[in-house]
């Protein structure tokens, strides 16, 4: 279903969605992040990209699994705390970040569904905003089978046409959102459609960064486990967690018990994000660390995204958002690394 | 009538002076408020900033570090190191916006049972109007 929505009507549309929790990008001291919105006027879709992707809403950095406490007769009692979420809408989701959620869906879905993830995922509608200008100079979505207008994972896709948005409804969830304010949406004119096509074409040209031979990367990687390339590329790595914590597709986590009181016993089991770039990520309790140096950790990050995941799910585990490139404190550039991988040994 | 707020104080007392001082107060049957959880450490110089933060994190309303008077340290210099370190911790806590009354240091010798009870009495009086310490406390 294709519609147009005047920009000035946008807050009105949001107002009709009062039964939903609304998330949207908000700016504070030059920093953009997805936050819970109280008034529709807070929403400003004139943004580039956020530091953290909407992953943080569906798969929050801290999740309480269960509470446990000692009771006199029963021993230890356990109370499961599944998220029971009100339906939510996230506005202004970039196509790369929406596509990233389709990838984490594979990880948390399949034979064993992770209820904590899915309870939120199913309740959340994603309203995308296509990228008529690339949000970051390091965007490279075209390389990894994405596009600035990709619809993967989205329920609605909006495109900025100047004074109005071109609104494409893609799923049932999306239809519900649009139908809640039917009168605000108009049928697009021929001119609108032409406009859209032109913007789409121009947008692709504006993405300047790409991996030349991405197709060669997965098979090359298979042969490169012991390559000295990892040593060279990781020389400047400082072992922080920026690249993976900011990545919209990274999904590793750790589970810990947090004790509130030891007598009587009371506490929570908590899941938090974890990070393969930290030295203690693979540390065994014997003291042995199978990934003992930073070369092996950088290799893991690249291999997981462009080899293991491709073998398992036939997708790159990367959507080209460019966050890990822009935010790396020492300029490690995944595009350069992949270029070197594809050229390796040639 | 609402019950009066009773602050919980964690006191790190050095084994050789302050802990002995608190014992003296006890065996001499001096009266002082029961709000203190004493933790005996070998020396005030062995009190890591982590101990102090951990106490606040787990719900202490006030923290006291107490050692021997300068010159009296069983390990000669431990309390001098403590004096430096605690000065920095105290200033940094203040910089973060924690009420400065919540963190105190004192010199109490093994003979100063009276001084110990007075320090605790004063500390409790100062903490009462502040109410529970919630800033650094882990949410439960």
């Amino acid at each position: 279903m294709e519609k147009v929505l005047a920009k000035k009507s946008f807050p009105q549309w949001v107002k009709t969605l009062s039964s939903y929790k609304i998330f949207a990008p908000i700016e504070k001291e030059d920093l953009w992040s997805y936050e819970l919105i109280e008034k529709p006027e807070q929403i400003n879709l004139d943004y580039l990209n956020t530091v953290l992707s909407p992953k943080k809403i569906i798969f929050p950095q801290r999740e309480v699994y269960l509470e446990f406490f000692a009771s006199n007769e029963e021993g230890i009692e356990v109370k499961e705390l599944l998220p029971d979420e009100k339906p939510s809408v996230i506005f202004g989701v970039r196509p790369c970040d929406a596509k990233a959620l389709t990838l984490t869906d594979k990880v948390f879905g399949g034979d064993f569904e992770d209820l904590y993830y899915w309870n939120r995922r199913k309740q959340t509608a994603l309203v995308g905003l296509s990228c008529s200008t690339p949000p970051s100079p390091n965007c490279f979505c075209l390389t990894v089978d994405g596009s600035p207008f990709s619809k993967d994972g989205l329920d609605v896709l909006m495109t900025d046409l100047g004074d109005k948005y071109f609104v494409e409804t893609l799923t049932k969830k999306g239809e519900q959102l649009v139908n809640s304010a039917k009168t605000l949406f108009k049928a697009p004119t021929e001119k609108d459609k032409k406009n859209l096509a032109k913007i789409q074409q121009d947008a692709k040209k504006k993405i300047t960064r790409q991996v030349e031979n991405i197709k060669k990367v997965p098979p090359q990687l298979k042969e490169m486990f012991d390559s000295p390339l990892w040593d060279e590329e990781s020389m400047s790595c400082i072992q922080c967690g920026i690249c993976t914590y900011l990545c919209p597709t990274c999904h590793c986590f750790d589970i810990n018990d947090e004790i509130d009181s030891s007598s009587p016993l009371k506490g929570k089991r908590i899941r938090t994000w974890d990070n393969c770039q930290f030295p203690d990520f693979t540390m065994h309790s014997s003291g042995h660390n199978p990934r003992p140096d930073k070369a092996s950790r950088l290799r893991q990050r690249i291999m997981h995204k462009f080899q293991y995941f491709v073998e398992l799910y036939k997708n790159y585990q990367c959507t080209g958002c460019g966050r890990c490139i822009s935010q790396c404190p020492v300029g490690i550039d995944i595009i350069e690394v992949l270029d070197k991988v594809s050229d390796y040994g040639a | 009538m609402a019950e009066e707020f009773e602050p919980k104080i964690v006191a790190f007392l050095c084994k050789w002076c302050s802990s002995a001082g608190s014992d003296l107060a006890g065996v001499s049957r001096m009266e002082y408020p029961p709000n203190v959880v004493p933790i005996t450490v070998m020396c005030s110089g062995s009190v890591s900033p982590l101990y102090i933060l951990s106490a606040f994190n787990k719900g202490a309303d006030g923290v006291l570090v107490s050692g021997c008077h300068p010159g009296d340290c069983h390990y000669i210099k431990g309390n001098y190191y403590a004096r430096r370190r605690i000065a920095l911790v105290k200033r940094l806590l203040d910089y973060f916006g924690l009420e400065p009354q919540r963190f105190q240091m004192s010199w109490v010798s093994a003979a100063e049972g009276v001084k110990y009870t007075q320090i605790i009495k004063d500390f409790v009086q100062e903490l009462k109007p502040l109410g529970p310490q919630k800033k650094l406390r882990r949410a439960q």
Partner: protein
């Protein structure tokens, strides 16, 4: 501004004579405005080196990696590592020497004076440039920075885009070096603790509100710890496992590892992390500002270190990173240390 060709010449000379294993310097990066650390192993590769006001990284951080790597090697190369340092970076070396983490013969120091300027802040610069790529960036004679982009030259007063720490810098030339490039022009900022005093002047509640908001943002990526040349401990309080664990460590010992803070990125735990990080750097931090630069969420971490620097100066007349032979701040004391706060 120091001439790049002189820098290349020095680097090339030591590499040619095989006096050093490699030289750590700066090279152009592909990801944005700032350069990347470069590890130059061959004399012909010195052409990659750059030197301009964007060379912000404190490269001494990589000496920790070098030391760890050397410890793993059976027959380590005992030659020193060549390293390019600015004034602040050289003070980091002094602290590492003072703590005997490195030996003087482990490093060949190519000191570069910032002269009257410093390095630029990436965020300030990118605001001015609005995403245009830099072709060239340099200082002119009159405290301006000349940036060349595809649209031509722009003149920006240095004070508008210099990193905050450069505006408060008290050591703009290296204090230790094997070879020095540039002039030792002493510069004294009006008030090196301006930023700290701004926070100190707030009320107690305002200070707490400020830090509460800032520390709540933390996602505990530990970039501030990882980038710090002083954070070289084998075992860090934030790690979930004790790195001193060996095959001989008993299960009981492992179980007794104290969890001082939880992994949950909530205010109370973030507070413990940031407090401990700051206090552990008391008398060690030399204000290279790297922790604040790398923070993806723009937490003003430098304000914490700077506060401790100020207190150390005020209370104990202690300056870090000038004298490798002085005892460290918290392993020393004076009889006259203040004790007016003690009951």
């Amino acid at each position: 501004m120091v001439n790049l060709e002189d820098l290349k010449k020095e680097a090339k000379a030591v590499l040619k004579d095989e006096k050093v294993k490699y030289v750590i310097g700066y090279e152009k990066s592909s990801n944005g405005l700032m350069p990347a650390p470069a590890f130059i192993k061959k004399p012909e590769d010195v052409e990659k080196l750059i030197w301009d006001p964007t060379c912000i990284h404190n490269l001494t951080r990589f000496l920790t990696d070098e030391k760890q790597k050397k410890a793993r090697e059976k027959q380590p190369d005992e030659r020193p590592v060549g390293i390019i340092v600015k004034g602040c970076d050289s003070r980091a070396l002094v602290v590492l020497l003072q703590e005997k983490f490195i030996n003087r013969e482990d490093v060949y120091i190519i000191g570069v004076s910032c002269e009257s300027a410093g390095v630029v802040d990436e965020k300030k610069l990118s605001k001015k440039l609005k995403d245009k790529k830099i072709e060239n960036i340099e200082f002119d004679e009159k405290d301006n920075i000349i940036v060349t982009t595809k649209d031509g030259k722009t003149k920006i007063p240095a004070s508008e885009i210099l990193a905050e720490r450069c505006l408060e810098c008290r050591a703009n030339f290296p204090v230790i070096y094997d070879v020095l490039l540039g002039e030792k022009t002493k510069r004294q900022p009006e008030n090196p603790f301006q930023s700290v005093e701004k926070i100190e002047s707030l009320s107690e509640q305002e200070r707490w509100d400020f830090w509460k908001e800032q520390l709540s943002k933390c996602i505990r990526c530990y970039a501030c710890r990882s980038v710090c040349p002083m954070c070289y401990c084998d075992e860090c309080v934030v790690d979930t496992i004790n790195f001193a664990v060996t095959a001989d460590t008993t299960a009981e010992e492992k179980a007794q590892k104290i969890k001082w803070l939880e992994k949950s990125p909530v205010l109370s735990e973030n507070f413990v992390y940031h407090f401990i990080r700051a206090i552990h750097l008391a008398g060690r931090c030399i204000d290279c500002g790297e922790c604040e630069r790398v923070c993806p969420l723009d937490i003003p971490i430098r304000f914490l270190n700077k506060k401790l620097e100020k207190d150390a100066k005020e209370l104990f007349d202690y300056d870090s990173g000038f004298d490798p032979d002085q005892p460290s701040l918290i392993s020393s004391f004076r009889d006259e240390d203040p004790e007016d706060f003690i009951r």
